[in-house]
């Protein structure tokens, strides 16, 4: 009990003085010069704006690179000519049917997963929360394996709706279980319900996969995650959901800020706690469901991107959420790019590359900077 009290106290002081604590950051220029709170406020604001601009530029650059560079070596001016021409040359097909869809999927899925991760960590108030913790990824996985096992579907295109439905259903189940107990969907109840559901679904998936070799063969490739989807119709079907999720997610920032003060304080500030949480979980479910449907479970993004974004944006969700979305998109695109370059002429899936490049970077970041707590 005393622990939760201490926790809440520290959280109060955390959020209450988050602006005036700017001087704690290890930036050298703030070490000695005394500053007024107004100075600090504008300084932090400027840094955040610069951060957003930098991330936007980086995203744009990675998009361009992702179209220019691929398994087949095509010179930049050839790519440009293929982009502008309408004849179906080989380069034209590669650029329009492979690289552009892939870039779009990378940007959308990366930003969705990054945003969903930040939302999840905010709502469960737990730094370990990620898409795989609330059972959403596992729901999608089970649905895919069931589709293979019972209906014999093997093409990637057939999976999209199964994984989307599975993700939504499992998110619904987690939220229902988490909110049944006394006190509604508290962070701990949500997190534990997610852990229980994800373990259950994972076990069922493993059982099916072990029974059926064909499911195993499909599952092991689905599980790694890849953004190499070339069918624009699938993308255009999922994109509306994704955009809806992005909107819902970004709009829930003020509610999340209030919830981070604790339920009672949020209610006292005039927020409807239940409604805020319901909207949040809906946003998470739609975001992760459509991202997983497009490119499989890339769990690393949702888990790690919020921490990276939090270093630069601070704990204010109005800044953290856009930062997380942009960082997620950049990270996925860049990791995919490296995966295409290092293993020519084949490629390494983006999920693997993300963990192999992203994890060391993340660990270095965790070691170097002052820890930004949730």
């Amino acid at each position: 009990m005393s622990r939760s009290l201490a926790d809440r106290n520290s959280r109060h002081s955390d959020t209450g003085s988050s602006r005036s604590r700017q001087g704690d950051d290890p930036a050298p220029e703030t070490e000695h010069s005394p500053r007024t709170p107004v100075d600090r406020l504008s300084n932090r604001r400027r840094r955040r704006l610069i951060g957003i601009a930098l991330l936007g530029t980086l995203l744009l650059a990675s998009c361009v690179l992702s179209i220019l560079i691929g398994a087949k070596l095509i010179s930049p001016d050839a790519v440009l000519r293929a982009l502008l021409s309408t004849t179906r040359t080989e380069n034209h097909v590669i650029v329009y049917d492979l690289r552009i869809p892939r870039t779009i999927v990378g940007v959308l899925a990366g930003s969705a997963l990054g945003l969903a991760g930040a939302l999840m960590q905010g709502y469960t108030r737990n730094p370990i929360a990620g898409p795989s913790v609330l059972g959403i990824t596992q729901g999608a996985g089970l649905a895919v394996v069931l589709a293979v096992f019972t209906l014999g579907i093997t093409g990637m295109l057939g999976f999209v709706w199964f994984s989307f439905g599975g993700a939504l259903l499992s998110a619904l189940a987690v939220f229902a279980i988490g909110s049944f107990g006394r006190g509604g969907a508290t962070p701990v109840a949500l997190a534990l319900a997610g852990a229980a559901i994800s373990a259950l679904l994972q076990a069922l998936t493993s059982a099916l996969v072990l029974l059926d070799r064909q499911s195993m063969d499909v599952y092991r490739f689905w599980k790694v995650g890849s953004i190499a989807i070339s069918d624009m119709t699938v993308i255009s079907q999922v994109v509306p959901f994704l955009l809806l999720g992005l909107l819902l997610g970004l709009a829930s920032a003020p509610g999340l800020n209030a919830l981070s003060l604790g339920d009672d304080m949020a209610a006292a500030l005039g927020h409807n706690v239940t409604r805020t949480r319901t909207v949040g979980v809906a946003a998470i479910a739609v975001l992760v469901g459509s991202a997983v449907a497009l490119c499989g479970p890339i769990s690393f993004v949702g888990l790690v991107v919020p921490h990276i974004a939090r270093y630069f944006s601070g704990p204010d969700h109005r800044w953290l959420l856009p930062f997380a979305a942009l960082t997620g998109a950049c990270l996925v695109l860049l990791a995919d790019l490296v995966g295409r370059i290092v293993a020519r002429p084949s490629e390494i899936q983006v999920g693997v590359m993300l963990a192999m490049i992203g994890a060391p970077f993340f660990i270095a970041l965790v070691r170097r900077r002052r820890l930004m707590r949730l």
Partner: protein, 368 residues
Amino acid sequence: MKALAETSPARTSATRVPGRRPLRLGPVSTVLRPRPLLVLFAGLLALLVVFACDLALGDYPITPVGVLRTLFGGGDTGESLVVFQLRLPRGLTGLLVGAALGLAGAVTQAVVRNPLASPDLLGVTAGAGAAASAVIVTGGALGGISGFAASVGLPVVALLGGLITGVLVALLSYRSGVDSFRLVLVGIGMNAMMVNATLWLLTMGEVQDAGRAMVWLTGSLNARGWENVVPVALSLAVLVPVTLLGCHVLGALQFDDDTMHGLGVRVTTARAAMLLSAAVLASLATAAAGPIAFVALSTPQIALRLAGTARPPLVLSMLLGATLVVGADLIARTVFGSLALPVGVVTAVLGAPYLIYLLVHRYREVRT
């Protein structure tokens, strides 16, 4: 308090805290709480019943009396063969592995102060899994040393993989002290690397090797003999008392660093020692039976809710972990006998609904 009670009994009755009975033995005094003790005995009883059933049931059913007689040296040769060569080593492996996982989970959750934390999170299990999958997948193609290692040294490889990962996480998160938040984040990163290395290895190999690796990665007690029991039992015999002795610092580890310093706890030493013991316990369990999911995560939370304590109770978590694994293996063996379902699947199917039930019928709001 006692002196006060002798001088002015009227005032004592006014200031007495209701419902907390003290237990005094010479210089030691503690609060006697009946519920954790009762739950502890119930857990012990449940473990005994499940273990007895595990020895008695199977393709060759033996009566409970027959089991007892065989255990004490009687019984015919068939019964003693089944009990001593097949069921006892397998059951004991399950029991020890479950106990180790339960204890490791309880210690991790208490130190990291997060109900989602488990040794899996710190990358220990994933490291063991990655090492084992590497051996399984490359062993099929290369033969030679890997092939030999695949048949004999798989537990050793897994143990080494888990331990190296655990030590790496600890070293990487050390920065003038071990901060539990930083440790968790480094653990997440390390875990992601190991998990994805495993996944990549699975896609690299032949589908048969991938299938074998998948069976190992789900956790199985199939064909466990005395050669599996003895190393785990010996290491647990050393580790469990040490960990339980260290548990008095766990109460202090609930607080933030400043409070802990104020209470006179060597924060870094205590934290590192407890986490290291959890990592070793989890690696040992993983080496013996593969990564049995969910036990380390769920049993401390179930134990916490059953006993109604402020942090995961260690001994009860051990008992429940052992009960869960032995019970799950019993079900996997008897109900799904021909399918040879790995125990890791059944633990989650058994444990998850129970945790969900406890969450829905919450006794009280508990925060770890």
